[in-house]
């Protein structure tokens, strides 16, 4: 299979879906003339023109709301946030309007819209620009939340999101845009369904659940521990956080009897806690150790490099957690 970057995979999804359906358009800051702040939308303006690739002023609540209004009345907008940090000024539009309309109208008005953009800490961009937002949005009934970790999932899930008749929060990994990986040809039109996890690695000793940038950290730790300590992890990438693939998680835990969840969000009230609830509720009898979470430290993101790297889920903290649940703490 050919290899392309995560950024190119997203771009292909945008091109393909916009060619397929004239109602689909892209709107956001710097998406057109500048070719995208992170170059995801490069070339779109040239092909589709200013009617469908729309540069907005800095007015997130305004253009998120315009997207929702257009979606309610028949268009299929893709709204790009330059980063998810800037979605907070549009939070009300997403929470009070996008996620509620279908229910509140008694199922009469659909809101087929995708909100997308980079999520998570980049390097040293400090407290206001380093949010990992899945905990905020996965909390809300009425939204779907995707969080692809690989180029293939990025493309397949974005195509699925654009075809969905509901509001989707699509979280791209800010540090993953240059990541390369195998992606099927456009002719295959691969759609990856929401709510289906991907098993990235098989093992009998411990279930390791991770997504976004830390997915790659976790997978590397799993590979290393297999070699160095003979600990074999089942590595699961949930791919979407609303819904969560409960079956995949429970089947794995039934096999390994242990679980570690790794994510970049703060642990407090996060999706990891939701998974812990699922596991203790449905797989209690299978568990041989408490389920552990490894997330960002419970502090605002510092600028200083030495502190930032402590805050993010480090390989050391992931390894310690795996060793604890497998009772292999001695090294």
């Amino acid at each position: 299979m050919r290899e392309i970057t995560y950024r190119e995979a997203l771009r292909e999804a945008l091109f393909e879906e916009m060619r397929r359906d004239d109602r689909v358009f892209l709107m956001g800051e710097e998406v057109g003339h500048y070719d995208g702040a992170y170059k995801v939308s490069q070339g779109l303006l040239a092909e589709f023109g200013e009617r469908r690739v729309i540069d907005t002023p800095i007015a997130e609540a305004g253009f998120a709301g315009i997207g929702i209004g257009a979606a309610m009345t028949g268009l299929r907008p893709i709204v790009e946030f330059m980063s998810w940090n800037f979605s907070f000024v549009a939070f009300d539009q997403i929470i009070s309007n996008a996620s509620k309309t279908y229910s509140m109208s008694g199922g009469k008005i659909k809101v087929p819209i995708v909100f997308r953009g980079p999520n998570g800490a980049a390097a040293q961009v400090a407290a206001q620009h380093s949010h990992t937002v899945e905990a905020f949005y996965a909390h809300i009934p009425g939204l779907w939340v995707a969080n692809p970790s690989t180029p293939r999932d990025a493309k397949g899930l974005l195509k699925a999101a654009i075809r969905m008749d509901d509001p989707v929060v699509f979280l791209e990994g800010e540090t993953l845009y240059n990541l390369k990986g195998e992606v099927p040809d456009a002719s295959e039109d691969e759609i990856i369904p929401f709510g289906k996890a991907r098993i990235a690695r098989e093992g009998k000793d411990c279930t390791l659940i991770a997504w976004g940038a830390p997915f790659h950290t976790a997978l590397a730790v799993a590979d290393r521990l297999a070699k160095e300590a003979g600990i074999e992890c089942d590595v699961i990438d949930p791919r979407t956080l609303r819904p969560i693939d409960e079956t995949a998680i429970l089947e794995s835990v039934a096999k390994t009897n242990r679980c570690v969840i790794v994510h970049e969000t703060w642990p407090y009230g996060g999706p990891g806690a939701e998974m812990v609830d699922l596991i203790q509720r449905e797989a209690f009898d299978y568990l041989d150790a408490p389920v552990l979470r490894v997330g960002s430290l419970d502090v605002p993101m510092p600028y200083a490099k030495n502190l930032e790297s402590l805050v993010l889920p480090t390989p050391e903290r992931i390894e310690t957690a795996i060793r604890r649940v497998t009772y292999r703490e001695e090294r």
Partner: protein
């Protein structure tokens, strides 16, 4: 030419050059990997920060965006504290936790250093509210780019400040581009100062290259605020010579445009004034040497200062502990 005026200009030159050289060296340190994250340079806009710092009074408060080095330095932050912050060091003005975008220096009236476009205008209005509430006479200045004049945060802060006649001055540094987007593609207006009327404020609009001109206009707005006549909205025409941040190559404008704009470089302007006034070249050179020494000392300090300890992370989450 009055002695006082020349002394003023010499100080202006020293301050503007300090900011310019500070940022040129920070760009270099960024390229060397000593500084990370986003670094937004103020190069080309120095006259505005210096005019503000030399017009306000002690106790007045200032809010700025992420493009904050110039304003903080002009208000009196030491180059050591400023550079150490960029290097993520414990002796930085925010102890390495804030970085380039989040300078704070309360002793000198500098209240940040804010990263979300439009988010700090209401904070500045809040500081002005406090002065009014306490019956004190400080004025709060709030700086932001022209790109911030479309967002809800701008509108709500301006609405309330206008309604309550808060002692604030809202200053739009119109450097022509919001990241890669020229004003013509973000606003149907070419004169943003007309927005003032919608908030019951006095509007003013002028070029910001000449520090004396900026001072003159600022002074009127500050006096109005201090005397209880309410806030003003100023649109100052300026230009940033560098990209939006270090990662922006600035392809959206031509080399000719940039060269043309550089003819209005505020530092060239102030130098011209000094020379026209017949100031001794030796005096000018002495200032340049002094600035170089201060920048060198700042770089040395930033290099040698310690990184913050892990404990700082936990100490600074909340004031009260549980």
């Amino acid at each position: 030419m009055s002695e006082v005026k020349v002394e003023r200009w010499l100080d202006d030159y020293r301050e503007m050059l300090l900011i310019r050289r500070f940022e040129e060296e920070s760009a270099r340190a960024y390229a060397q990997g000593k500084i990370g994250g986003f670094l937004h340079l103020y190069i080309g806009q120095e006259s505005i920060a210096v005019a503000a710092a030399t017009t306000i009074e002690k106790g007045d408060l200032v809010f700025q965006t992420y493009r904050d080095h110039g304003t903080a330095l002009a208000l009196g932050m030491t180059p050591e504290a400023a550079m150490a912050e960029l290097f993520g060091k414990d002796t930085g003005c925010s102890r390495g936790l804030g970085g380039s975008m989040h300078y704070f220096d309360v002793e000198n009236g500098f209240y940040g250093g804010w990263g979300i476009v439009g988010g700090h205008l209401a904070l500045a209005a809040g500081a002005a509210f406090r002065s009014k509430y306490l019956g004190e006479d400080q004025v709060t200045l709030c700086f932001f780019g022209e790109g911030a004049t479309n967002i809800g945060g701008f509108h709500e802060a301006m609405s309330l400040a206008g309604l309550w006649k808060l002692p604030a001055v809202f200053i739009c540094e119109n450097n022509q581009y919001a990241m890669g987007t020229p004003l013509s593609r973000t606003s149907p207006l070419s004169d943003l100062s007309v927005k003032a009327a919608g908030y019951g404020m006095v509007g003013d609009r002028f070029e910001g290259y000449d520090v004396d001109v900026v001072r003159e206009h600022l002074k009127k707005a500050i006096d109005r605020a201090r005397s209880g006549e309410g806030p003003s909205f100023l649109e100052i025409e300026t230009y940033r010579f560098r990209g939006h941040s270090m990662s922006d190559p600035g392809k959206y404008r031509t080399a000719e445009e940039l060269e043309e704009r550089k003819k209005k470089d505020p530092i060239l302007l102030i130098l011209g004034k000094l020379r026209d006034a017949g100031v001794d070249e030796a005096k000018i050179e002495a200032i340049e040497d002094e600035v170089e020494e201060r920048i060198e000392a700042a770089l040395k300090h930033a290099d040698e200062a310690p990184f913050p300890e892990e404990s700082l992370l936990y100490e600074t989450v909340t004031v009260e502990k549980f």
